[in-house]
C-alpha cells in the first residue's frame, strides 16, 4: 500500500471544512462562540514544523493568531522546532489556542540536539476528543547516535466513541537532520518497527514530522510490510517547492486511516502573501484523517447511521 489519496469530492469537501475551521477565528472575538464543531466520524492528526517556535515568534500576535487557528483545525498536532530557553512557550501558546473556549492540552519533550542549539517536540491535542496515556510519553533511545533529534513518542486514545471501541495509537514525532537524511530515514525505519513491537496490545504506529524528504527517498521503510504514507506528489513547505513533511503508518494494522489527507496551505487558507506566511513558518501543516474507533475487520463499522465502508 502506498499513499492513499482521497477521492476528489471528499478532498474538496474537507478542504471546505478546513477553511471553515480556520476562518471561524477571523469572524469571532476570542472566547465568543466557542470551538468549531468537529466531525464525529474522523479524527484529524496533523504535523507542523513551526520553524524556530520561541520567544520572538510568540511575541507576534498576528502570527500566534494564525498558529492558534491552525491548531484548532485538528484533534492532535505533532509539533517540531520548539526552540526556546523558556519553558513557557508552549503553555502560553496553548492558552492562546484555548482563548475561544477550546480545551487543548499538550505534552512536550526534552531539549534535544548535538549542539547548544536544541529543539523540543510537542503534541497539542483537543482534550474533548483525544486523551493521552501519560505513562507512554518518552523519547526513543539512540545509543549509537544515529538521530540528531531522537523522536518523541506518546500513545493516544480517541474520546469520540465509547472507550471500549476507541482507536488507540502511537504517535512518533520526528525532525531529521537535513545533512544526514538517508542515514536518519534508515534509523527511523528501525524506530517504526521497534514501536510496532513496543506493546503487544498496540499495533498502530504513526510516524510523523519533518523528514526533509519525500516518498521517493522512503526506500528504507520498504522493508516494513504494508507501509504507506499520507502524502505523495504534493509540496508541504510554504514556498511550495518541496515535500518534506508526512505521516507514515502500516496499513494492515492501521486500517483506521480513511484515505483522506492534505496540506493546510497557509497562504491560501489565511489569505496571506508569501512573506507573511513565512513569518508563521516555512512549513505548511500536513494531516491525515483516521476513524475514531478501532477497525478489526475489512469493513469500517457504521457510525451515526452511515453505511459500513468496505475497505
Amino acid at each position: 500500500m502506498r499513499s492513499r489519496s482521497a477521492p476528489g469530492a471528499l478532498r474538496v469537501l474537507f478542504a471546505g471544512v478546513a477553511l471553515a475551521c480556520a476562518a471561524s477565528g477571523r469572524a469571532q472575538q476570542p472566547g465568543a462562540g466557542g470551538p468549531v464543531a468537529k466531525p464525529q466520524d474522523a479524527v484529524l492528526v496533523a504535523s507542523f514544523n513551526i520553524q524556530v517556535f520561541g520567544e520572538s515568534k510568540l511575541a507576534k500576535t498576528p502570527v500566534v493568531d494564525v498558529l492558534a487557528r491552525v491548531v484548532r483545525c485538528f484533534d492532535i498536532v505533532a509539533i517540531q522546532e520548539v526552540r526556546a530557553k523558556s519553558d513557557e512557550i508552549v503553555p502560553s501558546f496553548v492558552r492562546a489556542v484555548n482563548a475561544d473556549g477550546s480545551r487543548y492540552h499538550y505534552v512536550i519533550g526534552p531539549r534535544q540536539g548535538r549542539t547548544v542549539s536544541k529543539e523540543q517536540y510537542a503534541f497539542i491535542y483537543d482534550t474533548n476528543r483525544i486523551e493521552v496515556d501519560g505513562s507512554s510519553v518518552g523519547v526513543v533511545p539512540d545509543p549509537q547516535g544515529r538521530l540528531h533529534r531522537p523522536p518523541m513518542h506518546a500513545r493516544f486514545r480517541t474520546r469520540v466513541v465509547p472507550v471500549e471501541m476507541a482507536f488507540t495509537f502511537w504517535l512518533v514525532d520526528t525532525h531529521t537532520d537535513p545533512d544526514e537524511v538517508p542515514q536518519e530515514l534508515e534509523a527511523l525505519a528501525g524506530v517504526f518497527q521497534a514501536m510496532q513491537a513496543a506493546r503487544p496490545d498496540e499495533d498502530d504506529v504513526i510516524l510523523l514530522g519533518d523528514l526533509n524528504a519525500g516518498p521517493p527517498q522512503f526506500g528504507a521503510f520498504q522493508r516494513i510490510p504494508g507501509i504507506g504514507w499520507a502524502l505523495s506528489g504534493v509540496t508541504t513547505n510554504t514556498r511550495r517547492t518541496k515535500t518534506y513533511d508526512n505521516l507514515i503508518f502500516a496499513q494492515p494494522a492501521t486500517r483506521e486511516y480513511l484515505g483522506r489527507s492534505g496540506v493546510l496551505d497557509l497562504q491560501n487558507t489565511f489569505a496571506l502573501p508569501l512573506e507573511h506566511a513565512l513569518e508563521v513558518s516555512d512549513h505548511n501543516p500536513v494531516w491525515g484523517a483516521f476513524y475514531p474507533a478501532e477497525v478489526r475487520s475489512q469493513s469500517l463499522p457504521p457510525m451515526a447511521g452511515q453505511p459500513a465502508v468496505r475497505r
Binding site: 520553524q51 524556530v52 520561541g54 520567544e55 520572538s56 522546532e81 526552540r83 530557553k85 548535538r114 549542539t115 547548544v116 542549539s117 545509543p143 549509537q144 547516535g145 544515529r146 537535513p178 545533512d179 544526514e180 514556498r239 512573506e275 513565512l278 513569518e279 516555512d282
Partner: protein, 180 residues
C-alpha cells in the same frame, strides 16, 4: 516571454541580492534586536541566502540567544556555501565557539570536494575538538570531501577507534569514502 517579465524577474533577483547583503551587514548591528531580525529574515530566505553563509556561521557566536537560534536555523536549511567562503570557513573550523566550528565544518562538508583545501583544518579540528559534535562533523565533512581528503587519513584512523560510537562510525565511513 515578454521583455517586461524578464525585467521584472531580474529586478526581483537584484532586490533579493541587495536585501541579503543589507541583512549580512545588519548581523553586525549594535542592537541585538536588529541582529536577531536580520538572522530571522535570512532564515526565511532559505537556500537563497547562501551568500550569508560566513556571516551566519560567525553569528553563531553572538551573545544574544535569539540571534544564535535564528542563525543556526538559517544554516540548517542553507545548503552549500559559495565557493569563495571556503578559505575563511577553514579558519572558522578552529573557532573556540563550538557552534561556529560545528557550522563551519558542516558548510565545508556540504561543499564536497570543493572544500579539499580545508582538509588540514578539518583534520586538526577532528584531532583536537573538545566538543563531540564538532569532532563528529569534522569526520563527516572529510568523508564528504572524499578522495581529495586523503591527508586527513591519520586523524580519521585515530577517530575510528573512538569510544564515541557515532564518531567512530563517521570516521570509518569517511575512510571508506576517501579510499585506499
Amino acid at each position: 516571454m515578454q521583455p517586461e517579465r524578464c525585467g521584472h524577474g531580474k529586478f526581483a533577483e537584484e532586490l533579493a541580492v541587495a536585501e541579503i547583503e543589507a541583512l549580512i551587514g545588519q548581523l553586525q548591528d549594535a542592537d541585538p534586536g536588529r541582529r536577531g531580525a536580520a538572522a530571522e529574515l535570512l532564515c526565511r530566505h532559505g537556500a537563497a541566502a547562501a551568500a550569508a553563509a560566513l556571516a551566519l556561521a560567525r553569528a553563531c557566536a553572538d551573545e544574544d540567544d535569539q540571534v544564535r537560534e535564528w542563525a543556526a536555523a538559517a544554516l540548517e536549511d542553507l545548503g552549500p556555501p559559495p565557493a569563495g567562503s571556503i578559505p575563511e570557513l577553514g579558519n572558522l573550523v578552529g573557532s573556540s565557539h563550538p557552534l561556529v566550528a560545528y557550522w563551519a565544518a558542516t558548510l565545508l562538508g556540504r561543499s564536497g570536494q570543493n572544500a579539499a583545501t580545508a582538509t588540514t583544518a578539518l583534520a586538526a579540528c577532528l584531532a583536537s575538538a573538545s566538543d563531540p559534535a564538532v569532532a563528529q562533523r569534522a569526520a563527516w565533512a572529510l568523508g564528504k570531501i572524499g578522495p581529495a581528503a586523503a591527508t586527513g587519513r591519520d586523524a580519521l584512523e585515530k577517530a575510528a577507534l573512538s569510544a564515541d560510537p557515532r564518531l567512530a562510525r563517521l570516521a570509518r565511513e569517511a575512510l571508506q569514502a576517501i579510499g585506499p
